[in-house]
Symmetry: C3
Subunit: 259 residues, 3 copies
Amino acid sequence: MKFNNRNVFISSSVKIGNNVRIGDSTVIYDNVVLEDNVTICNDCVIGEPRNEYYSDVNYQNPPTIIGKNSMIRSHSIIYANSTFGEGFSTGHRVTIRENSKFGKFCRIGTASDIQGHVEFGDYCWLHSNVHIGQKSTIGNFVFIYPYVVFTNDPHPPSNICVGPKIGDFSQVAVGTVVLPGVQIGRHCLIGAQSLVGKDVEDYQLVAGNPAKVLKDVRDLRSRETGKSHYPWPYTFDRGMPWDDIGFEKWKNDNGYIND
Amino acid sequence: MKFNNRNVFISSSVKIGNNVRIGDSTVIYDNVVLEDNVTICNDCVIGEPRNEYYSDVNYQNPPTIIGKNSMIRSHSIIYANSTFGEGFSTGHRVTIRENSKFGKFCRIGTASDIQGHVEFGDYCWLHSNVHIGQKSTIGNFVFIYPYVVFTNDPHPPSNICVGPKIGDFSQVAVGTVVLPGVQIGRHCLIGAQSLVGKDVEDYQLVAGNPAKVLKDVRDLRSRETGKSHYPWPYTFDRGMPWDDIGFEKWKNDNGYIND
Amino acid sequence: MKFNNRNVFISSSVKIGNNVRIGDSTVIYDNVVLEDNVTICNDCVIGEPRNEYYSDVNYQNPPTIIGKNSMIRSHSIIYANSTFGEGFSTGHRVTIRENSKFGKFCRIGTASDIQGHVEFGDYCWLHSNVHIGQKSTIGNFVFIYPYVVFTNDPHPPSNICVGPKIGDFSQVAVGTVVLPGVQIGRHCLIGAQSLVGKDVEDYQLVAGNPAKVLKDVRDLRSRETGKSHYPWPYTFDRGMPWDDIGFEKWKNDNGYIND
């Protein structure tokens, strides 16, 4: 049904690997690299030129690299000068601005808006409609739920831009706002619709407006099992690199020995 | 001005009723049924294949049925295997994933994101940018305002998926988050920007973060009239099936005798 | 790279100034005016007909005027019967409904949703994903941050529509909801994720759910400098008309003598 090569426009400088599929009405601009087995669905724009394009007649589009086995769903816009590790995937209508760096196996949900100048580790999963402001730094295995916003201007409007930083394995639940420069540790759980204005230590559950520390996530008790679901890597492995060997073995083999 | 049949691609298996209009650059995939008087505007995708399409060479697209007199506005994406009752309408850039079932005369606002595996009754009105997680169940005459999110994972990340359930005639105001598995009764009013973590009885006004019961909606008093606007069907009839006969008569004729 | 005139469709009644660029797959409907040096990027719809088009065979599209030096980024939809002053710009996938009036040098971020029947002054900057309900009135130099919602129905659902009104130089931080009919003064700062249900006097900092007055913005102290960043026009001039002469001189020359 799909991939009929209708209205596809690809710059002659694009490098295309083996078994790449490109959907109808998609445009791919200069100096994009699509590695093997990449799928770009319909109506996407890949390598969108930076703003300088509109004013600089000598503008050269910087490279954009989409790693192998990636899937970009329809109507997404990815600006030039970004790098995406293997197994990257998006929902529909994602916007990713310039100078974004994603590790391996990241997923970005429908309508999410990555403002550029950001860095993500591996296996970060963003759900729908997440907004990541410039200068944010996100570790590995970080999950961010719908309508979360990472901000960066402490005194709006100003020219200061200090994004949040968030550590490995942390979870940010739906509707939460993380204020400029806030540092969130590893294995944290930020409750739904929180306003996070202070740094958060490792393993803390915080929630509320303004957000307060409630307890250590390891002390959360499930009503069903009486045990804590956290640290979650011991209890959740779908799509994770430890899904066949378990987190206990994986962490020792992969430098996460203290997690 | 519109409907000039430019760049329209329609699968040969699509069934098209009388007086159907299809906008430019729209794609309609296998096994979609468009009933009489349906309008699909520009740049839409109808019957988007499910994820299995990308991996299964024998994939067959399940049917998608758009009821008569429906209007799908531009840039919307509707996945296969959903059913929409008559008089369905959407704003622009709506996403509706697979296995969604809508009753009659539902309206979904611009940029709303229906995650699939959901069921709506009749006359549900969703405003812009509403996010409905999988396994949500919504009754009849439910109105949901912008940036409301229905969630479904009680211990993120997990493989548990328990959506909220909301009863007939209830209203969920702007920016509210409904937590996994929460059951909201009939004729409720959920205030703006609430975080709803507990079940809500019929006719309750709840609000706040976390949400608390404030009063019975029938005890709300308008500053202008001194009377309660609720239950709202007695005071609002625009677009409702009781708009010519009044709710009192309609409810007795239609099985809502206790409302 | 861009502006190759592929699949561009322009009504014969459109008036196009000098040095106008129109991106691929863009549609421009009847009676749009594009003044000099306007750029409309790919996949846009300009002059989208109002709903009456679908039912009225004699429908005439009202005029839509895009001021000189404006930039509309890709996938945006602008309805007919709106006016945009010079230097207007948008991000991607913006929706602007009918009867919207914007002054000079306004900027609307990606995915923002302007519901129409609204009026903005000059130099208003809206970030991504801002939702402005009908009948809102926004002054000059007003900055609105992501996921802010302006609402207008005090007793949902009703036929009453009273939008908020917000004065010159005010700032509304991320995730805030402004309730129907609320009047916000000049030079206010509304904190992140606030629920604003009461009118706000000039120069007030308000925040919280529900929002409360915290202090005069002039009494806010920067941890770095010990001084207040507010009124911000004295300390921020990027893109502002006082960027070469300073706010002190500019305000006396331009009728803002008391600011």
